[in-house]
Each structure stands twice: as structure tokens, then as C-alpha cells.
């Protein structure tokens, strides 16, 4: 995901801001890390450059 798109991302549940924690990046591109909701505390993983912002119950339904 791209850092310059952080202003148009939010928690899918309560729509509050997400805090970005980067563990791997390639310039502007964030390859791995987490996004944590500043309100409800739910964390959303970023894996292989893709932020997984599915609601948690759907994330669990997703095939591995």
C-alpha cells in the first residue's frame, strides 16, 4: 500500500483513523506492517503490500 493514500483509509467498522506501523517498506510502498484503529483498537495486517481491511469476521472466513 502507499503512504500517500493514508488519508483515504479508515477502520471498516467504526470509520476512525488507522495508525500505521511499518515493518517492511520499499520507498513510498509499504510492504508489511499493521494498521491499528485509534478508536476500537482492531488491527489490520498489511501483507505483501496489500492491506487487509476486511471486517475481522470475514478475515477469518477467508481461505488461508
Amino acid at each position: 500500500m502507499k503512504e500517500n493514500l493514508m488519508d483515504i483509509i479508515c477502520c471498516p467498522l467504526d470509520k476512525h483513523d488507522l495508525e500505521l506501523d511499518v515493518t517492511e517498506r520499499d520507498d513510498e510502498e509499504i510492504l508489511a506492517g499493521t494498521l491499528t484503529c485509534t478508536e476500537c483498537g482492531e488491527t489490520y495486517p498489511i501483507e505483501d503490500g496489500i492491506p487487509n481491511l476486511l471486517p475481522p469476521d470475514m478475515r477469518d472466513e477467508a481461505p488461508a
Binding site: M1, K2, I8, D17, I50, L53, L54
Partner: protein
């Protein structure tokens, strides 16, 4: 008194989680098959061009976007309906292989941004790979659900969607979410199938039919009501009579154009003054 087994609306549809699973299974497996149901492989670009032409894409559209992004799963060209301007921020609901997002990215230019949301991991992975290889710097793909958009209030100018809303188990919520994320004055530009006749009960209850954009389709009146209830104004739904030709090819056993037609669905979020 019990509800009759009507074939419209959500009442008789599948359980929402079954519906999501059917949709995800279908679209997850498509990414690992050939680029499009009706196309042999990436070498048959003439067929891709002809098919895309029927959906309303120009030859230039097809030529300027990486062929890996085109899966032939749409039913129109929402980027044309939207008449995008330079610098606009665009959100695509159910972005799939990313074709419409890449077209939109060219239209809005470097000052604009495009976000695609899709709930199928294989689709998002594929679209992201294409973005990487084509160096598209103003496009991003996210795993997300269109009923729970990971996008803040009033943050985009245009919403695109191509043959996806019909797949949702909660369409009114999709329209409410679309309205929420649009800036005042922002617009909705959707291609989707609409129901023109009552579906046989076996089709309406069949997960494969729902996943194939038929079983979950709504009528023009239902879509109009959903969009209006969400707050959209200037709602316009235009069936595309020419779509009969390609819809007829969607099923070998029966002519689905007896029941559904492709349509453009437009609406506007009113300006702040109210």
C-alpha cells in the same frame, strides 16, 4: 401468513455468508484460470478487444491497460459513464483484476488517486501485481468489503463499480456506504445487471446463479429506491438493450437475457447546501 417465495429483493436470497462464500469461490478461482471465460488465453487479443468493445471500452482503453488486468467480468464501462476529470479521487467497488482502476488512473492523472476495494484475495493480489509491473503510482488495491468500506467519510469524488453490486447480500448498505464516502457533489457511476422479469425459483436460490450476477439482481425500481433512500439525487438507471447479445452467452443452457439486462446506474450526492 408466510412470505411467498418471490424472486425479487433479498428476502428469498441465500444466507449472507453463503452468498459471500459463493461469490468469493467463483472469483477466486477465475484468477487462476484463463483471463476471461470467453477468451482462450492472453494471445487472443483480438477476441479481448471485440469483447471489450461490446461492453463499451474503446480500442485505446484496451491497448493502454495491461492485458492481465482485463478479466472480461464486467457488464459495461463505468469509467466512461463517470467522465472522470484530472485530479479526481476515485473508488472502485469490487475492483477485480483492476482494469477499470487502471483506466481511471490514466484519466485522473498523477494528481488524482484511485483505490480499488475487493473482498477476494486472489483478485487483489493479481491487481497489485499488475500495478507493480506497470508502475501505476496512483492506484492502490485493498482487501475489503463493499458493505464496510475502509474509506473515510467524504473522501472521494467518484465511485465506480462494474457488475458487482448485484453480488452483495446487503445492497442498501452498499449504497449507504457509497454515499457516505463521496464528497458533496460526488457521483456514482455503476454498470450492473438489473432484473427484467421474475427469476425462476431455482435460479434465485442457486449460489452459482447468484455468483454469476443473475440470482441476486434487483429491478430498476428496487435499485432506484435503494439509491434514493441512501440520499442520492438525480438517480438515473438506463438499461442497455445491446447487452442482450453478451448476456445470452453467459449460460449454455438457458437464455439469461430473458431475465436480466445490463444497465448504467448513476446518482449524485447533493452539494453541502441543504
Amino acid at each position: 401468513m408466510t412470505d411467498d417465495a418471490t424472486t425479487d429483493g433479498e428476502a428469498d436470497g441465500l444466507d449472507p455468508s453463503d452468498q459471500r462464500a459463493a461469490v468469493r469461490d467463483r472469483y477466486g478461482s477465475i484468477t487462476t484460470e484463463s483471463p476471461s471465460d470467453s477468451c482462450c488465453d492472453t494471445s487472443c487479443s483480438d477476441e479481448t478487444t471485440a469483447e471489450a468493445d461490446r461492453l463499451g471500452y474503446s480500442d485505446e482503453d484496451v491497448a493502454t491497460v495491461d492485458p492481465d488486468a482485463y478479466l472480461g467480468l464486467g457488464c459495461g464501462n463505468p469509467t466512461a459513464i463517470a467522465e472522470l476529470n484530472r485530479g479526481e479521487d476515485v473508488l472502485d467497488l469490487g475492483s477485480g483484476g483492476g482494469f477499470d482502476c487502471f483506466l481511471a488512473a490514466q484519466a485522473v492523472g498523477d494528481d488524482g488517486r484511485v483505490v480499488g476495494v475487493d473482498m477476494t484475495p486472489e483478485m487483489v493480489e493479481r491487481a497489485r501485481e499488475t500495478a507493480e509491473t506497470t508502475d501505476a503510482s496512483n492506484v492502490e488495491f485493498r482487501l475489503g468489503e463493499i458493505e464496510h468500506l475502509p474509506v473515510p467519510d467524504e473522501s472521494v469524488d467518484v465511485i465506480l463499480s462494474n457488475c458487482v453490486v448485484n453480488l452483495s447480500p446487503d445492497k442498501p448498505q452498499v449504497f449507504r456506504e457509497a454515499y457516505r464516502v463521496l464528497r458533496p457533489g460526488g457521483r456514482l457511476a455503476v454498470s450492473d445487471v438489473v432484473l427484467t422479469a421474475d427469476l425462476p425459483v431455482d435460479l434465485a436460490a442457486d449460489p452459482d446463479s447468484v455468483a454469476a450476477c443473475v440470482g441476486g439482481a434487483s429491478t430498476v425500481e428496487e435499485i432506484e429506491a435503494m439509491a434514493t433512500d441512501a440520499g442520492f439525487v438525480d438517480v438515473a438507471i438506463e438499461p442497455d438493450d445491446d447487452s442482450e447479445a453478451f448476456i445470452r452467452e453467459w449460460d449454455d443452457e438457458r437464455d439469461l437475457s430473458d431475465y436480466v439486462v445490463a444497465a448504467t446506474i448513476e446518482g449524485t450526492r447533493p452539494d453541502a447546501a441543504h
